[in-house]
């Protein structure tokens, strides 16, 4: 620890009894914490535990309803982000606050006071980026940058203001493992120079590796403080979710059966100038196996999913073969008729119709399973099916007649997963199965996917969470820049190799040079 090296022991930031109430939910209740100078302080909690709201109050984006904030010993009321920055608080947002059509220098200039000269600023950016190992080209437009590069721009933007406290909101969710390591080096260097860091995450291993102190939030309340290096992931998880973390059981590799999905040199030029074109994608998913596709977002996952679901059909029918039928030109309905199930990343609008009830949403894909009789809806059957989804998948909701958009993201995801899994498709394509779902529910969904595989379904999972893919996949491949790597059996690879592959480097042999370029 570096926090005790200097004489001044006044905490940099103290919160006392912070409370924030939104009309339907208490986001924070009586939260207190204290951050010393040069300390990397974790705020740990599940999605919806109130971490982001707390940070927004510190940064002046929203105001607390009750409680007191002290900055370097003085009581302050942060009026707005500009005020927070003038105090020396910088924040790197989870969803970046960069402007895509502006270049790096312009983006940085917008966050600085006064009217900085853009040429000088470009030099300053280069200097800071060299000092902290954050390579970035000041002249490039932000939309052309990778997610990792965008994050570096955000960090550099904060660093140029010489912050005394840097808030990082879920910074690693979009990074390759190598980029995470580089980020940690940068953060440690900053802390050594006396900058305090508030590090928000739900990833226990990262917090153990990086943070000096952790404050744990659950349902908006502080459930404990701990020193991560003295805890186990198990003990921190129980603070975070109130019970032990269930681990999915993977019943080893069974012999996969017939091919249910085959992609033959699938190529598709993207219509979107900022999209990614698919190039010669080849893969095969067999009955009784889970194929995981890893990759940093924006590398063609969206395009691949649209081509697979049939929302954007491709010209060559043979390039997508679903359960033996060439389906490249088929529409989503025909593909589902051939035995494919599909869970998209966006739940509202693509996975479910926001204003329709859960029952009606269940009917949308389940109408093939005997819910219709001579074109008329069998309301009793569909109601039974919807209730079964709700019960089996432990969906917290007011009832099957409630609208899809009244559910929290995690609960709706459980419902949609339930709807598709209960139909026992021959082939299931899933994007981000546990995105935004709390840790307990995520483990449950993963277990259900594994059980479905054991029943003989072929499953393709596209996810940005490497840990998840390593937990459930039989084989794993990587998508990068619209191309796909060979699929490897889980036993024959490891997180490091997949991490290197995520940079698009499965053809080259030496991983060492890859690290700097993500």
């Amino acid at each position: 620890m570096t926090s005790d090296t200097d004489g001044d022991q006044t905490p940099r930031l103290e919160l006392h009894g912070i409370t924030k109430i939104y009309p339907s939910v208490i986001a924070n209740e009586d939260v207190s914490l204290s951050v010393k100078r040069g300390e990397i302080h974790a705020v740990l909690g599940e999605n919806g535990a109130g971490k982001s709201t707390l940070m927004k109050m510190i940064y002046g984006v929203t105001k607390a309803d009750a409680g007191e904030m002290k900055w370097e010993g003085e009581v302050v009321q942060v009026e707005n982000p500009a005020h927070a920055r003038s105090l020396g608080i910088g924040m790197v947002f989870q969803h970046f606050s960069l402007f895509e059509t502006l270049n790096v220098v312009e983006n940085v200039a917008l966050a600085l006071p006064g009217n900085p000269d853009l040429k000088q600023l470009a030099d300053q950016i280069t200097e800071v980026s060299n000092r902290y190992g954050l390579p970035v080209d000041p002249g490039r437009l932000v939309h052309a940058l990778s997610v990792g590069e965008r994050q570096r721009v955000e960090i550099i933007r904060c660093l140029l203001q010489n912050p005394k406290l840097l808030i990082m909101d879920e910074p690693t969710s979009v990074l390759t493992p190598q980029a995470v390591r580089k980020l940690f080096d940068t953060l440690r260097q900053l802390a050594d120079e006396g900058c305090s860091i508030l590090y928000i995450s739900h990833k226990l291993d990262e917090i153990q590796e990086l943070c000096h102190v952790a404050t744990v939030l659950r349902d908006g309340k502080v459930t404990g403080d701990c020193i991560p290096s003295e805890e186990t992931p198990k003990s921190m998880a129980s603070l975070m979710i109130g019970k032990e973390l269930p681990v999915p059981e993977h019943s080893g590799s069974s012999e996969p059966g017939e091919t249910r999905l085959q992609l033959n040199r699938l190529s598709k030029a993207s219509d979107d100038p900022f999209g990614t074109s698919l190039e010669d994608i080849e893969l095969e998913v067999r009955s009784g196996e889970i194929l995981g596709i890893a990759g940093v977002s924006g590398n063609g996952q969206q395009e691949l999913l649209y081509a697979l679901s049939g929302e954007i059909p491709v010209n060559d029918a043979d390039s997508i073969v679903i359960c033996g039928t060439p389906s490249g030109r088929d529409l989503p309905d025909q593909r589902r008729g051939n035995g494919m199930g599909f869970v998209p990343e966006e739940r509202l609008g693509r996975g479910a119709v926001p204003r329709m009830s859960l029952t009606e949403n269940a009917l949308l894909t389940a109408h093939r399973a005997g819910m219709l009789k001579r074109g008329m809806i069998q309301f009793d059957k569909i109601a039974t099916f919807a209730s079964k989804c709700i019960e089996d998948f432990n969906v917290k909701c007011g009832g099957a007649e409630h609208a899809a958009n009244s559910l929290s993201g995690g609960n709706l995801q459980k419902f949609i997963m339930g709807r598709e899994i209960l139909l026992t498709p021959k082939l299931l394509v899933v994007a981000q199965p546990t995105w935004g779902v709390d840790v307990g529910a995520a483990a449950f969904i993963r277990q259900e996917l594994i059980d479905l595989r054991n029943q003989g379904t072929a499953i393709l999972v596209i996810s940005e969470e490497l840990e998840e893919l390593f937990e459930i996949s039989d084989r794993i491949a990587v998508i990068a820049d619209g191309r796909i790597s060979p699929a490897k059996k889980l036993a024959d690879t490891n997180i490091d190799e997949i991490g290197v592959w995520m940079s698009g480097m499965w053809d080259q042999a030496t991983p060492a040079e890859v690290v700097a370029h993500d």
Binding site: K56, P81, A82, F99, T101, L102, E106, L110, F274
Partner: protein, 310 residues
């Protein structure tokens, strides 16, 4: 075609394009902040009648232009309150503003329908105006023609060289990001909308005080809509607005010339009258085909309401 005809076509083209440039550049600023104000036609009509009436009573065309500007600002202020403070739908509110402006101007303008204003003299720039063919067209013009060029230069500099312009573009792309780094997005959108209204009013006053110079109900005749279309098809870039406006003016003048020349041609006059609208849109659609240019210049948040978090 002898050079005096060419010169007068060029002269008339510049004059016809001027109100479009002024109005479209004003709308460009408003749209760059993310506000889509479809009320340009109504704001121009109000600017036209206000300018006409004030000029007639005061005898001073410059007071008329100021009055037109004030009328445009007042109209856009109504719009701004409705869509920025009350969060109403921008498209519907803009259409309503158009209908309101056209109707209200006709009502106010009833007593002025038989009046005619004295012609305002041109400003001649010595030496340059003596150039052959282009001299008269470019350098012996109404003051507002020179103003439109200054406006073009000023807006180009403002958008791409100045810090407030950078902030404006940032707000138009993502008001929530701009808010989160400390800018007052609503205030910036208000100012941009009012500027758009002011320019629409000036454009309207140009028509009734300098161009015709008289007041007829419906005299704006779709120029407000053309200005809005110009901004979109010019992919929100000032230079393309300039080109599009003169193209429209040019075709307008040429078809009037053809119609009035008594040439024996078998084209219905209605088609000729529609030609400027058609030609402008076709040409601008062709130059705005490049999706990349559109994505890089279009304000992403255009038409979307923004409410900062409490």
């Amino acid at each position: 075609m002898d050079s005096s005809i060419l010169s007068s076509i060029l002269f008339a083209t510049i004059v016809a394009g001027t109100p479009l440039i002024i109005v479209a550049l004003g709308q460009l600023i408003a749209e760059k902040s993310g506000v889509l104000n479809l009320g340009a036609e109504g704001m121009m009509a109000m600017g036209a009648i206000a300018g006409f009436a004030v000029t007639l009573h005061s005898g001073n065309p410059w007071l008329g232009v100021l009055a037109g500007m004030a009328a445009g600002i007042a109209m856009s202020f109504i719009f701004a309150v409705v869509v920025l403070t009350l969060m109403a739908n921008q498209v519907a509110s803009g259409l309503a503003l158009s209908i309101l402006g056209v109707g209200l101007s006709a009502f106010i303008g009833k007593p002025y329908e038989s009046e005619i204003l004295p012609t305002v003299g041109a400003i001649r720039i010595p030496l340059l105006a003596d150039l052959p063919i282009i001299g008269d067209a470019l350098f012996n013009q109404q003051a507002l023609v020179y103003f439109s060029w200054a406006l073009f230069a000023g807006i180009t500099w403002f958008l791409y060289r100045s810090r407030p312009g950078l902030i404006l573009r940032a707000v138009g792309e993502s008001p929530s990001s701009a808010h989160s780094i400390g800018y007052h997005a609503i205030k910036i959108r208000y100012l941009a909308t009012l500027f758009g209204g002011a320019m629409a009013g000036v454009g309207g006053a140009f028509l009734s005080v300098f161009y015709t110079p008289l007041w007829v109900e419906g005299m704006v005749s779709g120029r407000g809509w053309i200005a809005i279309a110009l901004v979109v098809f010019a992919t929100w870039r000032p230079f393309r607005v300039l080109v599009g406006a003169y193209l429209f003016g040019g075709v307008m003048v040429v078809q009037l010339f053809v119609q009035g020349s008594g040439l024996e041609i078998n084209i219905p006059s209605q088609f000729l009258s529609a030609l400027p609208y058609l030609a402008t849109i076709v040409v601008l659609v062709i130059i705005s085909r490049d999706q990349n240019t559109v994505r890089l210049n279009a304000p992403v948040s255009l038409g979307q309401p923004f409410r900062p978090e409490a």
